[in-house]
Symmetry: T
Subunit: 149 residues, 12 copies
């Protein structure tokens, strides 16, 4: 069974409530359910988590080193400065796809720079909850074709 | 019928031949066929093009304003300086997804800056030919749910 | 009853002990008491908190979304890089005033740049514990004049 | 009697008329009256002035060296480049609080940098006319507690 | 007979259709007609052209070296990076006026920098189609007063 | 009757005497006369002024808010740093055209950056005294077509 | 008895497992044991800790203010942005030596800048686990010679 | 037979006519003839081309991948921004020498930065038409000593 | 008779009173007297002035164009941003020496950059009131040897 | 016998005399003796040198390529710009440790950047003469464990 | 007889030994012999020198002012900072060609900037020892055609 | 007897021969004689030296620590990068005046930045050989008034 850890960073628990013109109306729970449903169809399973604490996110990334074939991460605003999260992703050998609900390149200048992207397999942004589903699809496909990238 | 224009910029005609450790082994023609096949399944049609000429790409983007529900664009190295291509995308009202075969954030510094991304709906990079398929899926889904964005 | 949450970031628990030439001799507890006393006079109530953990501060800001008419925040050194805290403040609809005991513009170069200020109602710095009292006064006044900002 | 000089820089004479979404509806005269009233209550007196001329402002700051216990200054756009005004403030030994009606950190990039702040006791911005009142309160309090800072 | 070449760069063929709040409602054809009419009154003739291809624009600038007394150029987004177009203008000895429909200094940061301006006689921007007419007037006047500049 | 205020900044009183290879031989008085003559033909009137004092220029811009349909401003070297003059122009609701005798983009690096341009309707530079006439023409035309921009 | 607190930041718990070409093969536990053994020889005692949480590290630094004669800190990637950790170190009066297993100056550009170093007694990097031992030696020596620095 | 493609970019067709104090009096045709003559002596053949179109230059570089042992390129002003041309050179496996007639380091600041140089074998500049001849000599010598670099 | 105008900018009227560790104990009047005395010995005469108004300084520089053989200027903090003063100095043909009492290169970063120096004959700083005397000597010497520079 | 060359750059001959609050009271000769004594205990030998001449230091580094197992270098102020010294260290295959008496990160901005560090095994700074001893220890240990790094 | 001085800077004496993947296998002596041989054929003579001392190189450049028709200089790492060497080259009236064995634009960022190039006739890099021969050829040719440049 | 050491850096031995439009016609020897003559009048003695070697200059500065009351230094192009020379000047307790023949602020951008100035008593530039004489006068005066600064 392909296991994918889905990690959400600070403030993503408010998705669907805050700034819906940017992040859409789907709540994080609805995104979780969409992913679980799609995962089932693809013969995979997702472990969906959220925390506002950088340290917790790092613990989870380290945990993903065993028993997971891939990680989908939406680091929230940590995207732009958490070199510690980046180092955790480097240390873990699992393939990672970075996802953002909004197009981070079409907003404030500082949002267009990610310290996370350089250590990921790939990045998907601006496609809303769909971005998670596409990332899942890509990771599962790679796992089937023996671990990808 | 949903029509999607797929525009490929400079040097992408060499995909599958040049720097395969970065861009993979699939040729541009194989990517075209994958897209056509997937499009058919999704009830859509793709019009797949490539040119090394910035001016031609701008002409095509302008052309997409009529009869197309979306554009997938891989601008090649024009990504990093062609404000003229960007202006063409702004002028066209069609939703656009920018795609890159490789993770442009994990390469030379100058590749991590796109002048195109701020005017796109979203960006997918680092997932190889899959990136095109995922972009297609996202655009078709949006077109069905009445024009997306 | 007007409720104001007062949030203090990393190392502010040492106020009154460390670098007193910069931060003064009043301890954080004394500042809390001054605020509670003044709040009572103004017909308001303050909920005064401190943590060294960015994640905890974000949790609190999110909590302030219900039952609070305003937030006073002294983010300590997180002022200068915590985009995650900033995003939490944006997500919360409560009016916020940023306070610093010392004049951050008269110290090291990097202290003069706040990533928090652009999303606050206003900023008070350099006036010591008084800064908290003035912020309280301003927030209460705004709440009375129907929600301010 | 505690004397406070209140100095307003270029274009502040238009307050209440221009860009009221930024600066509010109170005119400079109304702010003057609020300050005089509050000063009276605090046992102080304000000398309220405005000029569009950098040289005049410098003359006034120099004048404040005798007979004044504090200065409140809103330097208008001179905030961002008048090193001459800054030098005048340094030369004067009177404690100074810099005030801005709007939150200068939430506007154009260049407004977030003040060449004046590093030589002031403190800064208050974004709180409208209230900012002047709070500054007055703080200066008077300091004068009572023997000259502050 | 005074001959003036009027060169329009990428996306200007869409003028009047795209972003009319920025570029106005007049189409490029209407601007052409206004210019022809005004030229006739001034005893001059305009040769009005547009292309999305940088190379074609360079060919035209080179062509202007013979039989033309002046060039009016609106380089579109090439304004901001086409050093090749700039070199062509330097190589041609014809006097050149750069024109922009919108005020390029009141838009995105990158639009305020022109690599073309330093090699032109002068620049007119922000005055809509009028800008072309004023440029024509200025060039004709200079040609009459024996070649200007 | 259309009234246009023409404001000239520091050192422009020396036009025609200093650096004539840059600014031409026409004196400021001759420019004034050309403008008055042209204004008469256009059914307008110009109020032509010059000062070396930033504060005086700001006073004049404020004065232009009543009884004037437009402002032509050549801010001299204040162009490059006077945010106070810029704020005055923003506060005034009159349409403004910025004029420079020389091509400021073809001289020292620092001259190519104007803090004034972003708040003007348009900019004309490099066309000598003609620039003033063209600006006048454009402003009058706009006033006729009911207030322009 | 000389007490030295040894603080390890994010991802250092993976030392010996991740990127061994950079960090060597010794595990963090082995480094702990080496230090304890060496401490004993020097008549000192080390309290060895690791956490992925910035807030926990700050708590520990504050704790070190009592009962410890020195701190050895390897802040991991927090080195490069945690001004909050830096402020904690400033607030603590204990002498601190910053240690890095790898030579941070011979890796990515951003690793060569430490916001921590300016507030430390000294820095040792690139010498692997030896770095910790040398830091211990230096701190003990200083404590003996009455508190160093 | 050793085949060398010689590619000339925008505006080089004007060599010998424009700015002869910078580029010398030899026309591009004369340079072509010098090269053909020298090539013959060296037992090689040159295919000499010029275009103002970036796209055409990219097509040619791609074409050079078959049947050519080396490329000499003078990219004109594209030198300073055409990452697309650079990518084409990377994709082609042929050894490339970049040539400039003038010393690009002794002119405008922006001319001293080449985006092309990092992907070439070597660079020759400032030696006029001789530069082409020396590049030819070097490439032929390398081809003889089995492919060089 | 050699006439030298000595121009002092903002805050120099406070010399001898403010920050005497930087500017020394001599008052501006004492400096004036030293200069007059020395001038007399050298067969020259000084016209010594001070103003806090940029506009007044510009007027004076323009005035110096007639009847003066040289200018000594200490522009105070205008040194660092007054391009208008610089332009006045350029327009005046009189030789100018810039003088600063303190060593502006040994203080705040922004003080080490003068926009005035590039248009002066020379600069003397850090030598206190002596700097004025040395400048006078140099100017007189040059006037004698027929106008210097 | 393990041979270690210890190289000291410009002005280090004054150690113990100049700025003792920064560099301590030990003279360079005393440091030499400490090192010789410690080396003897470790079964090694140090060759201790100092020069104010960059060229001499480069000669010595080249000389270290034969007969030395390691180099300790304190390049003095050459640390911050001598790329020639850096290249010499790269060319030499001997392991190198860079040492500074003071904490270069806690002084002027420019001192925090070393062009030497990226090519060293490691760096020790801020620990006074101890830094040399610790470097010696580390190098000897590595030599014993067969050449280190 | 045409005399050419060939000057080699720091570390070039190690050519052929150090980093041969970058600099090739030819020793400096072999390059000297190639040059002497080629010079003889061209009717010229080379005076070949190397030093690690910036001062010595400057002395030699000054010496070249008499009796030499040209200088070939490979300044080694001094290329990137020795303004003193640059000034020496400016002072000498001899034509100079700068040579580098490797392509300095394809290595570390700082190597791509030469402070020497702007004052040379031309630059050749990346062509190994050939670069010296081509430079010699170019200089001799120029000397014959009466002094070149 | 007051002893002043006068130190001249690289290429100053060519003064009077090279670029006389910048440096004047006086040779270094003539400047030496002027200084000796003036010194005699002032009851002082100068020790005048020149070297192209940074190391030698540093040796001399160190030597000046004994038996000299002041140093006049013209560091030539070392002005712009020799932090080692700067450190030597800091280490020496002798008062230093930096002199430049030309106005370094009116030439290339990089010449306007001196790493030496911040550690000197004062700076004189642009006044030709006079600059040396004025520096001498100032130093002697200070020595008389007991050591100056």
């Amino acid at each position: 069974m392909i296991m994918i850890m889905v990690i959400n960073g600070p403030n993503l628990n408010l998705t669907g409530e805050r700034e819906t013109h940017l992040y859409g109306n789907a709540t994080l729970n609805e995104i979780k359910e969409m992913l679980e449903e799609r995962a089932e169809k693809l013969g995979a399973k997702v472990d969906f988590r959220q925390s506002n604490h950088e340290g917790v996110l790092i613990d989870w990334v380290q945990e993903s080193r065993e028993g997971f074939q891939g990680v989908i991460i939406n680091p929230g605003a940590l995207t732009h400065y958490s070199y510690a999260l980046r180092d955790a992703l480097v240390a873990a050998s699992t393939p990672v796809i970075e996802v953002h609900l909004s197009n981070i390149h079409a907003r404030e200048e500082w949002r267009s720079r990610s310290v996370i992207s350089p250590v990921c397999l790939g990045v998907i942004c601006g496609l809303g909850p769909q971005g998670y589903l596409l990332a899942l699809e890509a990771l599962v496909k790679m796992s089937v074709v023996e671990g990808g990238a």
